[in-house]
Amino acid sequence: MTQKNNKKENMFAIFSGVIIIIIACVLFKKGTLIDFLNRVGMNGILVLSMVPTIICGVGLNFGISIGILCGLFGGVLSIEIGLTGILSFVFAVFVGIILSAITGILYGKLLNGIKGDEMTVGTYVGFSMVSLMSIAWVILPFKSPDMVWTIGGKGLRTTISLENSFGGVLGVFGSIFIFILLCILLYGFLHTKTGIAMKTAGIKPKYALNCGIKPDKYRILGVMISNIFGAIGILVYSSGYGFLQLYQAPLMMPFAAVAGVLIGGATIKKASVLNALLGVCIFQFLMTVSTPFINSIFSDSSLSDSVRMVISYGVVLFALVRQGGRRIK
């Protein structure tokens, strides 16, 4: 019977691989393979960031906006200092990692205080922080002409071009490389002593306690790692996109990342690196293939964004219902 279960896991891995190859071939034929790879590279890390929190027991990290904001701050700082090219990217990531590590620990502590409502609170902390940072973007004393409103000279613009700093500096394969690298690192981490402790804490806190593992500690660790991935992820995304989007843009990004990992087969309680990988591929494949189709139905191109959001919410809702209730008391 157990060989069947091991077989099941191997089957899933093979299945995922096959799907990805099919996707690649279809797109190759259509000539949009590069576009697809680009999207995967850009979005992959944000989807991957959901995995640590699911594994450590916190669930879907709707508060990933915090990490995203840290990354954005790193990017903004790097432009302000006037760095260019790959150096500006590295600096931005560096600052982003430090900030997201600190905020991740604090956020993790907060979540430990509201066990059971992590997703609701996460959503609102995320929204709250986006608004707070919106204030910050306006009042912080940035001076770089690339970022600041030309009229008035104060406050950052909503969209900041990365032409002069790290826009496009990674290229398609650069972002894919970073994504795959982080996948491998996370996978390896999950097989270390600490990673296994985190997994155990997430699966069954009571069991973990009995093993001598303190679940609270590892929840904070999971949230911190997720947050850091969020920071790196947004910088990779922005680099590919060519712009930094401040203010209200990060508001809905968690939902897209959540949907991505759920599409890849993850549930609220269980996720693997493979789920993230498969999920981002499927999600971006759907986007690549359906955008022209949707544009032909709805004349307004901003609708494709709405459709994407609706699909995301639908997927999350479906996952919640399928997961069922949780034993209260």
Partner: protein, 344 residues
């Protein structure tokens, strides 16, 4: 003897907000009379919807973020009324009537979903609200409409803003405004809110109300003792959705314009923040929480933009700050509430 410290401990959240409100008011430099006028108007506009949160909280389902769906039902009813060109208070009441069956259907769906996710009702409601809102928007944008009042030129979709002049202030004004100490009070609207309070009180005295209370306190025991908890929860959500629909119509007749895409979006958020500010918890809520909360929350709402402008020299910051506080409130309230449930 209730010392000041005890009062603060029992009513932490409202106290914080009174403080913030006073500080904000002082910084903003607005005239007290103006603020109170604005406040009373907003009270009339928003109280009904905040009240609709009470029943699901009593049923143990937490904050009904899917309120938005009820608001959408209300909006559809208002659009219908505009098309049928029913004026004045007749129009408002017609909208109420039309919204009820729509709200019931929506409420049944949401209630069904929430029964499948017992223990996670709040996040389910949140996501469901976004999901149905998204579908609503897509339908609004692509429906072929020929009616010039509401339709977009070109025949596809509904206008993004619809003027509600025909029913504007119809409820507030009926039969006339009352002026007390120079403050304009929308008497009839407040009477309707009062009616809702009476209705909630009535339900509380019935078998249904008792079932709701028991289900909310201990769903396991309720089920073991034969209460049909699923039915009770669905009724709670349906009632809440119907009231949300009516509440949204009341709100719209005061604002006078319908923003087809956006009017319903923040409804759930602000109502939730208001009732939590008023001292409700996700397990227990009374009318006093709703009334006090609406007053305190909207007081802050009114003064922050100007206060923000005065501190930072920018009105927009006030907007951001207001949103930050609204969301932050929910987090703080959930945290304080949850401190008791720290076990696995």
């Amino acid at each position: 003897m209730k010392t000041l410290k005890n009062i603060f401990k029992d009513y932490t959240v409202p106290c914080i907000f009174i403080l913030l409100g006073i500080i904000g008011f002082l910084i903003s430099g607005l005239s007290f009379k103006m603020v109170i006028n604005d406040l009373i108007e907003r009270l009339g506009r928003n109280l009904f919807i905040v009240l609709s949160l009470i029943i699901p909280i009593s049923a143990g389902m937490g904050i009904n973020f899917a309120l938005t769906v009820g608001a959408m039902a209300g909006q559809l009813a208002v659009i219908a009324v505009v098309v049928m060109n029913i004026e004045g208070i007749g129009g408002t009441f017609a909208a109420f009537l039309i919204s009820v069956p729509i709200s019931i259907i929506f409420g049944l769906i949401i209630g069904f979903l929430m029964n499948k996710t017992k223990g996670r009702e709040m996040i389910t409601g949140l996501v469901a609200a976004y999901f149905f809102s998204g579908i609503y928007q897509l339908i609004i944008l692509s429906l072929p409409i020929n009616n010039p009042i509401i339709g977009v030129e070109g025949g596809k979709g509904i206008k993004s803003t619809i003027d509600l002049g025909i029913i504007k202030y119809s409820l507030d004004r009926f039969p006339t405004y009352i002026r007390v100490l120079g403050i304009k009070i929308p008497l009839f609207t407040l009477i309707i809110c009062g009616l809702l309070c009476v209705f909630i009180w009535y339900i509380g005295k019935t078998k249904l109300g008792q079932d709701i209370k028991i289900t909310g306190l201990d769903i396991k025991t309720a089920e073991e003792k034969g209460i049909n908890v699923n039915k009770v929860r669905i009724i709670a959500i349906v009632l809440s959705t119907v009231f949300a629909g009516i509440g949204q119509i009341i709100s719209l007749q005061n604002i006078g314009t319908l923003s087809t895409f956006g009017s319903h979006e923040q409804v759930g958020m602000y109502a939730a923040a208001a009732i939590l500010v008023g001292g409700a918890s996700i397990k227990k809520a009374k009318f006093t929480n709703a009334i006090v909360g609406t007053l305190l929350f909207y007081f802050l709402f009114i003064v922050t933009p100007k206060a923000g402008a005065n501190i930072f020299g920018d009105t927009q910051i006030g907007e951001f700050f207001r949103v930050f506080i609204a969301y932050g409130v929910i987090v703080v309230a959930l945290y304080i509430n949850n401190k008791k449930n720290k076990s696995y």
